[in-house]
Amino acid sequence: MALVVGVALVLSFPTIAPNPYILSAGIVVLSYACTATAWNFMGGFTGYVSLGHAAFFGLGAYGTGLLIRDVGLPSFAAWLLAGALVLLITIPVGIAALRVRGASFVIVSISFVLILLLVFQGWGSFTGGSDGLVVPRPFPDMLRPQHHETFFYLFAALLTVMLVVWWLIDRSRFGTGLKAVREDEDKAQALGVPTRNYKLVAYVVSATFTGLAGGMYALWFGDLDPIFQFSIMLGAYMVLMALLGGVRHLFGPLLGAFIVGTGLEYFKLEFGDTQFHLVAAALLLGAVVLFMPDGIIPAVTGLVRRFGPQESSIREVTAAELLERNGGTSPVPQPGATAGSDGSRTTSEAAPPDPNDEEDPR
């Protein structure tokens, strides 16, 4: 139900948007949603935080632009081919990044953006350097509002494809394996999950979708600058959006993108190019990491459930049931609990020690 309303709202946005500026802001927010959802193929499933996904956005954007300008491909063929190129580039990068766990992944991901920024700025004859690269428009005879409207739907379609793929993976055994990597990589491997290959596939899928979002952006915006396409901030926004909404949920990144994207557009409008947006983004990111690492969706559903009737009683029922079933093998010995036929149960159950709060044994 909520889904239908959401889809209807998104689809009708171009008609209800009061002016082209608002519509273009809507496109920016949708492109953010695309990147955050694409990021979430890696970040959400495997728990590996990439701060450098802007690299793939930039590669997709520049790839599309250069293939149109230098090879003369039709716009959307260039877009698809650029996506394929990002896929190929990601494989060796992913292999290097995933050779060792965690920390070096982060380091490689950031380094990759920084190196591409250097290369694209330094190699002016090929990329246009700091002067930028103008990407020919795919629909030259369209007027501006029409152009915006078309791209709004194109971005929405791309986002839909990503959401469907994410949903499919979430339900698959492959997705279960990836989530196991996120929860406990050693354990997953000991159960026969080829963790490195799984991570690599997730990384490549994530990067390719990010590249496609970048290419789409290039076709829409038409003007690329290494400073903006290979910006570490863009990668940070992807993380912030996904985390804010909730990385373990299909619509988490979308929700986060809506909030952060709208906020960013507002800041741009109100304060222009000050450093305010950096401080605001920093504070928000810090707050999310410290106080709400699971994001808004679980926080809200948790709140709803707390005031709902059943959740509070689940644990004591199950523990007591276990007691009945196994004839007193409940691992938490409870002097007050009886497994009698009258079904008497303890009214309160001490929370079992959570082994995951202990020092990481690794």
């Binding site: 728990g47 590996y48 935080v49 701060l51 292999i95 290097a96 990044a97 050779r99 060792v100 766990r101 965690g102 920390a103 070096s104 982060v106 380091i107 490689v108 950031i110 380094s111 990759f112 920084l114 190196i115 250097l118 290369v119 700025q121 330094g122 570490i232 940070a236 993380v239 985390l243 000050t274 450093q275 305010f276 947006h277 950096l278 401080v279 983004a281 920093a282 504070l283 990111l285 810090g286 990491v289 410290l290 690492p293 995951n356 709060d357 202990e358 020092e359 990481d360 690794r362």
Partner: protein
Amino acid sequence: MTGTLLFQSLVLGVLLGGLYALLAAGLTLYFGVMRVVMIAHSAFLILAAYLAWYFHEQTGIDPLLSLVVTVPLFFAVGVGMQRLLITRLRPVTLTMMSVLLTFAVALFIEGMIGFVWSGTQRRIQLPYSGDSIEFFGAQIAVVKLVAFGLAALSLGLLYLLLKHSRFGQALRATIQHREAAQLVGIRTDRVAGYGFGIGLATAAIGGTALSLDATIYPSLHWHWIGPLMAIIVVGGLGSIPGAALAAMVLGIGQSLLQVPLGTTWAQTIFYVALFATLMLRPQGFFGGRLAQRF
């Protein structure tokens, strides 16, 4: 490339490598004690440079003296950061979440520097700024020598502290095996806090050294964090001698490559080394068990 030019680049490379070595030692120290990739390290570096510049601007005294304030201040901030921020994170996701947290700190510092001192480029003018001495035909700026001296001295002190003090022993034990260190009675939490403080103190010293010789601006830290992170991977995460050695080698390499390739492309040596290391020897050249697992 003439012999003199080559020699000049080599000397400059050594001088640059010294600064890299000090900063990379700090960065690898955080990782060692807490398994944290401290993205904000270079932001603190730039902050210290700004403080040195501001100190000089306000008082006219040599910026080196700002160390008296910034080193203890940064040490305290480091301990506080470990105590109040890092330890709040869940151990299971510590490495990933701490990256985001320190990233947020870096952005915050960058934003606040821009807010307080604006985005204008700053540079300290000292009476000896233009001076240079001749060293076997190579012209070496005095400020670079002072910066190197400061870095080398601090690195030497750090080495003595780690090698010959009880605290250093506890710190090394914590880096090598946290649980075992706890078992023999080391209060690893406290040690990790001090480790963080020392790491930030290296940023304070490095920043002051940097301010003597560099034009600074708020987003400059991004130019530093990439090379520094590459250095600690090449050296082996958590290994201080590895970081120092890798810093020296890559600093010299960068300096030598600058002549034929220019500054932009010379920087790529760090990233090339990073990828090569991960492909050939993922635990780094001096990393042990620790680096393999993270």
